[in-house]
């Protein structure tokens, strides 16, 4: 019996347990560590309740997130838009509104919100084409954001600078909008609805 064969004989199948331990430990590390390392939590300037606002307005999301005359989407409303309802002094008694009125509204300073759904600059996305022409509901991509009482913690990808919402909460990149807003989600929906999904449709 050679030395090699003697070594083989002494080894037991339990050795392979180490392989399994290594595999499990490091894949778990990958699953847990990737988001922990990759995403930074960034605070919003102050808390905001979509729910409270939705109860006050008549036209739903569009009341504040409106379209301009040329059809382009305003996105986050400007402080001027807020002024249509808010005045120099807070209407309610929350500290958040006080901060907003004193620090932003009265100073005419725009609120630097962290935007959960901001897509990379290389993507052309028309809200008018989706919400107006195709009649998609805002919820289709933005979920229950409009009914939320609080702003979630904003997680920013340290490498790309974009929100975690684009890749989605699942680190495996699973799920469909509103859980995830990647290019393949856009393409899937386009294909399913018979809309062109060529590169130049979105990457102008």
């Amino acid at each position: 019996m050679t030395t090699h064969e003697q070594g083989q004989a002494k080894r037991s199948g339990a050795d392979w347990l180490l392989f399994v331990v290594g595999f499990v430990l490091f894949s778990a590390l990958g699953f847990w560590g990737t988001p922990a390392l990759l995403y930074a939590e960034k605070p919003q300037p102050f808390q905001f309740s979509h729910k409270v606002h939705m109860e006050q307005v008549s036209e739903g999301c569009k009341s504040c997130h409106s379209f301009r005359e040329d059809g382009s989407f305003t996105g986050i409303p400007s402080t001027d838009k807020c002024k249509e309802c808010h005045s120099d002094s807070p209407q309610g008694d929350t500290p958040q509104e006080k901060t907003f009125v004193e620090e932003y509204l009265n100073k005419g300073k725009p609120v630097d919100w962290q935007v959960y759904s901001k897509q990379p600059a290389c993507v052309f996305f028309s809200h008018a084409a989706h919400a107006e022409n195709a009649g998609l509901e805002c919820k289709k991509c933005h979920g229950d954001h409009g009914d939320s009482e609080k702003l979630r913690t904003y997680q920013q990808n340290r490498l790309t600078g974009y929100s975690r919402d684009i890749w989605g909460s699942s680190i495996l990149g699973m799920g469909d909008p509103p859980k995830r807003m990647k290019m393949d989600n856009c393409a899937d929906c386009h294909r399913a609805n018979g809309v062109r999904d060529a590169c130049f449709v979105c990457h102008k």
Partner: protein
């Protein structure tokens, strides 16, 4: 189970496989790909409301629309310059200088964003407040004025007749200095030629109406007048692949214009005027000329002034003689002249040289004579007179009242005509006679780089103890200044522009601040007005307007409400005015023998000494011919030969004209035949000429003139006339603040030698004798 090497390897392999089974790798790869789209130099404008604002680029005369995006957080930003389809002459077109104008606006490192004062100890500019900087400049000016040295202040502006030009002229005259100079252009030469022969200074070529055009050495498709407007006219001649217009180019090089032309007459350098006169002679000898106006013109026939233009042509410019001078075959001259005569709407065009020089007055007069003989004066497709723009002066005329002579000699017997130019001023000041300059005010431009024989202007600025630059850029001129005052580009300031060279319709362009890109940047006019207010007294009286906007309002009072005008950004005469030119000459007729020139010479000398006066003005012809269109070989040619070549410029829409710096985008679109290896200028030579000098394609050579020298790579080009070397313009910046343009090639203006043009006295630098040797 032992923890041995094998066990460790199993664990490690498990770990690696486990890590790869996790989302770490695909996720990082995906993010890395997105990260590459977010490099900080990738423009990433904020989303926002889009709007368009009209303006006119004064450097090109193009009517443009600027896209403005109003970001919620970062505010407004200009994101694109595109053509304005409503502009009557540029009709939506742009040239590279328009399309890339934003690069000069937003190029932070190169922009002057705050007043700067030179720290004498460190030799570096340090930031200052407007108050500090203006107090320093006004203090110096007041000090010199008090010491009776006001005349030792010189100002170098850009365009004399614009708002900024008028403000500067008024400022200097009221302050007490006769020394204000501006860029000179072909508009000055054409105005003089028009004044000499027709009494009309505002002449234009109705290119859009013409169907036969002979261009005498002009870069018609590469930067003539408003380049976009000319290109549009050319496009109309080629509409739907049908040739409705014929273009004949007379030039020593197969330029873009020559290669797009229907016929290229390859002439010897500087002989374009001889060809024009040869064509005149063919028209006369064939009886194909206009008898009613040209035939009845003063000086056409022999008369009391001596020999007439007709005899002069027959004597000196027969097709055979012209073929000898220019190298154009006799048959070609006759064919072209006959075709020119036959076409009902034909025009001969003179214009700026390829290096932007103002052209030669006698050449322009020869081309005017050809148009007159054709009988196209005031006719559709011919030479037309523009209506005046109707601008109001900024107040009562302010003239220099002192008794000190001008440094540039303008208005003296040696230089009775002409326009105040930077080079003559710089030469006069460097000579120090009769006095030296104590303070130079560079307003708006970059004369140390762009003026003819820029090296002289640079040396002049170096010699001046105190230089003030009002400029948007840290360029070759402002980097020499003790005080730099930031003014805006046309996208961020009030100002105007006048009719581009040679346009048939009068045009007025207005530009207004479309954006406040830098907090402390002002309009150039506002800086001059602020200085005037600080100085007080006569200067403040001469410039009573509080702001450049108010001054512009007064200037355009006859054109309508400023707010509306500024929003539209242009006023363009609807269509060319046809009809008799009116001939406001002393004889009331067209004059081949110019009485205006004659009277001027008489005034300066008395009848007897006229020959002497004309000789001092650089005219070598004698007798009545001296005051008629005639051909004089350019001074540069006399010095060429004996191993020396003739240097000429290559015009291109991809290189800048005038004072605007070349943009990174324009540099990028230059091909290897202009800029090799991104930083080496390329000069063109005829293969035979290169062979004679033992040079091969790509050889590094030194091009040397008496004015200066530069290095370049040789490109052999059969379309270049033998014995010549052709060099691009606008390259070779050496002010290190602009990393994109720094040391990209050499500067044509530093090699080209300027000579005084006969009669006009304007500097002309189209042809320069140079030595070319291996570097």
């Amino acid at each position: 189970m032992n923890w041995d090497r094998r066990a460790f390897v199993k664990f490690a392999v498990g770990a690696v496989v486990g890590l790869h089974a996790s989302p770490l790798v695909p996720k990082l790869m995906d993010d890395s790909a997105i990260w590459t789209q977010n490099w900080n130099w990738v423009p990433n404008p904020e989303d926002g409301a889009l709007a368009f604002a009209n303006t006119v680029n004064p450097a090109t005369g193009t009517g443009v629309k600027v896209r403005v995006i109003a970001g919620r957080l970062k505010g407004e930003r200009l994101i694109r310059v595109e053509g304005n389809p409503e502009h009557p002459t540029s009709k939506g077109g742009v040239v590279p200088a328009d399309a890339s104008a934003l690069q000069n606006l937003y190029y932070d490192d190169f922009r002057v964003k705050t007043p700067l004062i030179l720290d004498q100890r460190t030799g570096m500019h340090v930031e200052a407040s407007w108050e500090q900087a203006l107090d320093l400049v006004a203090g110096k000016l007041a000090e010199l004025h008090k010491a009776g040295q006001a005349h030792t202040v010189a100002a170098l502006g850009t365009e004399a007749k614009t708002l900024d030009g008028e403000l500067l002229s008024r400022f200097m005259a009221a302050y007490g200095s006769p020394n204000t100079s501006f860029n000179v252009s072909a508009s000055d030469t054409l105005a003089m030629a028009g004044w000499a022969m027709t009494g009309e200074e505002n002449l234009g070529f109705d290119l859009l109406g013409a169907n036969y055009v002979i261009s005498f050495g002009t870069p018609l498709l590469e930067g003539f007048g408003s380049p976009v407007a000319v290109r549009k006219a050319f496009a109309a001649w080629r509409k739907d692949f049908k040739r409705t217009g014929t273009l004949v180019q007379v030039e020593p090089r197969a330029s873009v214009t020559a290669s797009q032309a229907d016929q290229w007459l390859a002439v010897k350098p500087g002989t374009e005027a001889a060809v024009a006169l040869g064509l005149c002679q063919v028209l006369i000898q064939e009886g194909l000329y206009d008898r009613s106006i040209a035939g009845a013109a003063l000086g056409f026939e022999d008369g009391d002034k001596g020999l007439g233009f007709k005899t002069l042509l027959a004597k000196n410019y027969s097709p055979g003689q012209v073929a000898q001078i220019s190298g154009v075959p006799v048959e070609t001259l006759i064919t072209v002249a006959k075709a020119f005569a036959k076409e009902p709407k034909a025009v001969a065009v003179c214009g700026p040289g390829n290096g932007g020089e103002p052209g030669r007055l006698l050449d322009f007069m020869a081309v005017l004579a050809l148009n007159a003989l054709k009988g196209n004066l005031g006719k559709p497709g011919g030479l037309v007179a523009r209506q005046p723009l109707g601008l109001k002066p900024l107040g009562e005329a302010v003239a220099y009242r002192g008794d000190k002579p001008r440094l540039d000699g303008l208005g003296t017997a040696k230089r009775p005509l002409g326009a105040a130019d930077h080079l003559s001023l710089a030469k006069g000041a460097l000579a120090g006679a009769p006095y030296k300059v104590n303070l130079a005010l560079v307003a708006g431009g970059n004369p140390a780089f762009c003026a003819p024989q820029a090296g002289v202007v640079r040396d002049f600025l170096k010699s001046v103890p105190f230089v003030v630059a009002i400029t948007p850029y840290l360029d070759e001129s402002s980097s020499q200044a003790q005080v730099v005052l930031p003014c805006g580009t046309f996208l961020e300031s009030w100002g105007d522009s006048l009719t581009p060279y040679g346009a048939a319709q009068a045009e007025y362009g207005l530009h207004r601040p479309l954006i406040k890109a830098y907090e402390k940047v002002k309009s150039q006019g506002d800086v001059i007005l602020a200085l005037a207010a600080k100085l007080g007294g006569a200067v403040a009286q001469a410039l009573p307007h509080a702001t450049a906007e108010a001054a512009l309002k007064a200037r355009t009072a006859g054109l309508g409400e400023l707010a509306k005008l500024a929003k539209k950004s242009y006023v363009v005469q609807e269509k060319p005015v046809y009809g008799n030119l009116g001939f406001k000459t002393p004889s009331g007729k067209l004059e081949f023998f110019s009485m205006n020139l004659h009277n001027l010479a008489v005034k300066l000398s008395g009848e007897g000494g006229m020959a002497k006066v004309l000789k001092a003005m650089g005219v070598s012809a004698e007798g009545p011919a001296a005051l008629m269109p005639h051909y004089e070989p350019p001074a540069a040619l006399a010095k060429a030969g004996h191993g020396r070549l003739v240097l000429a410029a290559v015009a291109s829409l991809r290189t800048p004209k005038g004072d605007q710096p070349i943009t990174p985008y324009m540099l990028k679109v230059l091909d290897g035949d202009t800029l090799a290896n991104k930083d080496q200028m390329v000069v063109e030579m005829n293969p035979q000429t290169a062979h004679d000098l033992h040079l091969y394609e790509g050889d590094l050579v030194k091009v040397t003139s008496t004015a200066g020298s530069t290095e370049a790579r040789v490109h052999m080009f059969a379309g270049a006339a033998p014995g010549m070397v052709f060099m691009p313009v606008g390259l070779g910046h050496y002010a290190s603040q602009n990393a994109y343009t720094y040391r990209r090639g050499g500067n044509y203006n530093q090699v080209a030698e300027a000579t005084a043009d006969p009669l006009s006295g304007l500097p002309t630098w189209g042809l320069t004798p140079v030595a070319v040797s291996k570097a």
